[in-house]
């Protein structure tokens, strides 16, 4: 039934008594065929009956009890649908942040990250500072008004494990400050280099700084899926209370896209309800500049392909995950 028209017809006949189709089409100013379609539906549902008087056919209310019964049944169906919807919503209680990790490394990698962000499962871009594509990526952030952008300091401190605490902290703060100056908002998250995750004093100070500034601090990457390799860092971040995910993961190298997808889904399947997980991927298009400047080009192409794989996205949703950014944690 066209709910509005069907209901209005029913109400009119109830309040004004039997009418012919011609009269009703004049009252409602609708075509006879549209009217008869609605009337036939009401007759089929036993809400309206027809009665022949001479040459005219009149449409009248069947009985009030049949109307009541019809609408009560409808309310029951709607209630049950609502219950299902509410239940389904409450099941969506695992959260997944999918990060594109090397946004800004080169232009073509940035373009790949943006495609994966705009039409794939990537929910957070992690910008590399001071790289060949950083300026380009910053322009894209401003142009498209993208808010889910964190900073990835991995390259800033690579192989610099003896950096002083003051120098490290100042460098991170100035990175955040400059980012905010360029784009007009704070980064949603930061990722430190492994060299800094190993330095608990530095980590604690940064965690406190992030907490005060409502910036998420990403967990240190783990290499081996079976054991936490950085317990002290994780527990310290937890004690400071800085916003982060409950778990993170990286993937072992595998040639097959199929195996990679299964690997992701197996990990997701094993996460408890009400927990959050970070997956970091490194999607990117590959051009001459990228081939000459960066490594792991095959994985970057592969990560791009799985980032925009609709089937994987559907499977993730079937596992009751909400794909969110750090801002939505």
């Amino acid at each position: 039934m066209n709910d509005d028209l069907g209901f209005q017809l029913l109400l009119y006949i109830k309040d004004n008594g039997a009418h012919t189709a011609t009269e009703l089409s004049e009252v409602f100013n609708i075509k006879r065929t549209t009217l008869l379609y609605q009337l036939n539906f009401l007759i089929e549902k036993k809400l309206v009956d027809k009665e022949k008087k001479g040459r005219e056919v009149y449409f009248k209310i069947n009985s009030l009890s049949s109307i009541e019964s019809y609408f009560r049944d409808k309310i029951d169906i709607l209630n049950s649908q609502l219950d299902k919807l509410v239940l389904d919503t409450t099941k969506l209680n695992r959260k997944l942040v999918v990060i594109a990790d090397d946004f800004g490394l080169t232009k073509s990698i940035s373009d790949g990250c943006l495609v994966a962000y705009n039409s794939g499962i990537i929910s957070e871009l992690a910008l590399i500072l001071n790289s060949n594509g950083t300026k380009y990526a910053l322009d894209k952030i401003i142009e498209a008004n993208i808010r889910n952008v964190g900073l990835n300091f991995e390259y800033e401190f690579a192989n610099n494990e003896h950096i002083s605490q003051t120098e490290a902290i100042n460098s991170i703060k100035s990175g955040i400050f400059n980012f905010q100056k360029d784009v007009g908002f704070k980064p949603s998250s930061i990722y430190l280099a492994k060299e800094l995750y190993l330095r608990l004093e530095i980590l604690e100070e940064i965690a406190n700084y992030c907490k005060e500034n409502s910036i998420s601090l990403r967990l240190p990457k783990i290499i081996n899926q079976n054991k936490s390799e950085n317990y002290a860092a994780e527990v310290m971040m937890n004690r400071v209370g800085v916003k982060t995910t409950d778990f993170n993961t990286t993937f072992e190298k595998t040639f097959s896209i199929y195996k990679l997808k299964n690997n992701i889904l197996n990990i997701l399947n094993n996460i408890e309800e009400n927990k959050s997980l970070e997956i970091n991927l490194s999607p990117g298009f590959i051009d001459r500049e990228t081939v000459e400047l960066v490594d792991q080009i095959i994985d970057r192409g592969k990560h791009l392909v799985i980032s925009i794989d609709n089937e994987l996205e559907e499977e993730i949703k079937k596992l009751n995950y909400q794909i969110v950014s750090f801002n939505q944690l």
């Binding site: 073509s108 298009f285 051009d287 001459r288 081939v291 970057r300």
Partner: protein, 270 residues
């Protein structure tokens, strides 16, 4: 005496970034490519034809009856209603649409593609191949062998489902067409036991061993290119995989093995 090997980059012309990736290999000190195979009707064909004029490498033509649009008019039996060629289901290796092709239309289109190459590249191709090895089917093989013989151009050894196709090979040979004795496809994803001509390009020892086991001249086909959005839209099965040869060339091991152990030649040397 060292065995002779032709190393061909296929799909030159597919997209501009694929062309750029192939060019990057050619200009790399580890380059092993001796032949490019230019697809004549793809989005990057014109770009590749321009590039072909300046690259110091042999360029063959890759005829194509299974993707994009024909070059000639009046070839309705070769195309779907939208004017594009039928695309085979490679999972089932279903090329049954070839049954619909009229022989005169096949010839008309092949001649048009050949003419396109002459006009755009401004020289004769050094070899002829097909994008999906359509020349493994006698209906396509016969007219293409005629062109190869008439123009005295070598033809890539016809295969089928990434396996040898002996009768097709023999047919072309009997017609006096120049061919290699074997062809090896190096896309890693295709290298499994059912695909006797496929070898994973990252397995250097296996590739060298296969060339050594083959009698006569082998052609090693490389499917390389940079990755962009257009390529992702064109192909679901061979996009990021094209980066593998780029990384292999960058690494250099395969290049030095092939250069040291074999004589790298091109189709024009046959």
């Amino acid at each position: 005496m060292k065995k002779k090997v032709i190393v061909t980059a296929s799909d030159f012309g597919l997209t501009k970034p694929v062309n750029e990736g192939i060019k990057w290999i050619i200009h790399n000190p580890n380059n092993i490519l001796t032949e490019l195979s230019l697809v004549v009707n793809a989005p990057g064909s014109e770009h590749a034809a321009e590039m072909a004029k300046t690259l110091n490498v042999n360029v063959g033509t890759c005829f194509n009856l299974t993707r994009f649009k024909p070059i000639s008019d009046q070839v309705a039996t070769l195309t779907k209603e939208n004017g594009e060629f039928y695309k085979p289901d490679l999972g089932k290796w279903d090329f049954s649409f070839i049954e619909k092709f009229k022989e005169e239309e096949i010839k008309r289109e092949l001649e048009a593609q050949y003419k396109w190459f002459l006009e755009k590249v401004n020289k004769k191709p050094t070899s002829i191949r097909f994008r999906k090895n359509e020349n493994g089917d006698p209906k396509i093989l016969k007219p293409v062998a005629e062109i190869a013989k008439r123009e005295d151009i070598a033809m890539a050894t016809p295969v089928w489902i990434w396996r040898e196709n002996f009768s097709a090979h023999n047919f072309a040979k009997e017609k006096g067409v120049k061919l290699t004795d074997h062809v090896i496809i190096t896309s890693p994803g295709w290298a499994h036991e059912n695909h006797s001509i496929a070898v994973d390009i990252t397995k250097t020892d296996k590739l060298v061993e296969t060339i050594n086991q083959n009698n006569g001249i082998s052609e090693v086909v490389i499917i390389a290119g940079f990755l962009d959005k257009e390529l992702l839209e064109i192909t679901k099965t061979l996009n990021w995989q094209r980066l593998i040869p780029i990384e292999v060339i960058k690494n250099g091991e395969l290049s030095s093995r092939l250069k040291d152990e074999f004589e790298l030649i091109s189709f024009s040397d046959l």
